[in-house]
Amino acid sequence: MNDTTEAVLSFSKKSMRSRFWKLTTLKDQILAESAPLKKEREELQTRMAPIEQRVREINAEIKEIERPRLPAVEQERAVIVRALSGNVGIGLSSSDEE
């Protein structure tokens, strides 16, 4: 390594370290800017948690009611429609009942 190369590397390392710390300051500034919004989001999420929990419970209850009964009903309807070549009439009248 000659003197010139060493000087360039030395300068380069120095400038890179300087840039690193400038970027670190910039990063801290950006995070400081968004911090109040993150805090507000966290507070909202805390308030929403009980509602979200209730939605999850309702989802589970809906599934309990609909599955597997509804798919079976829908599937049978589709089979009947195919057997009737798509023409199902417009509803059940008393004379249709067997």
């Binding site: 809906i62 599934k63 609909e66 798509g86 199902v88």
Partner: protein, 139 residues
């Protein structure tokens, strides 16, 4: 069933908590060929739907929503749309999520029936979803 076409926004919406495909109510929207959906549409209000007068419920029943060895599959039950009177002509069958409020009614994908469909009173249109491969898979 006809070829499935994906809305581009859907993949982002899946990754960003818009959809709960295991619980939300997926629903059918119908359009004419002139108002066909395009891949860049993202919510239902982007589409021009037909009038649903005389048509039965368009809500789809979910059969299952689960993964097998890391590949997620959403299976939907065949849906029979029945007409209690003449129904407006349609060709495109859109599937959207009716549950989210924000964004409202995000689109998922659509099928092109290939020709105009007209339903008279007593007639039906069946959406025959793929049982083996499901409606969609995510790997």
């Amino acid at each position: 069933m006809a070829t499935y076409n994906k809305h581009q926004q859907f993949v982002e919406d899946v990754a960003e908590k818009v959809h709960d495909l295991g619980s939300d109510t997926l629903t059918v929207a119908l359009t004419t060929n002139a108002n066909a959906p395009v891949a860049t549409n993202s919510i239902l209000s982007d589409l021009t739907e037909i009038s649903y007068t005389n048509l039965s419920s368009r809500a789809i029943t979910t059969t299952s929503s689960a993964h097998t060895t890391g590949t997620y599959k959403l299976t939907l039950t065949d849906l029979v749309l029945s007409a209690s009177g003449a129904v407006a002509t349609f060709r495109m069958v859109e599937i959207y999520n009716d549950t989210p409020a924000s964004p409202l009614n995000p689109l998922i994908g659509w099928y092109d029936h290939g020709s105009d469909v007209t339903l008279a009173s007593g007639e039906t249109y069946t959406l025959d979803f793929d049982d083996a491969n499901g409606f969609i898979q995510i790997a």
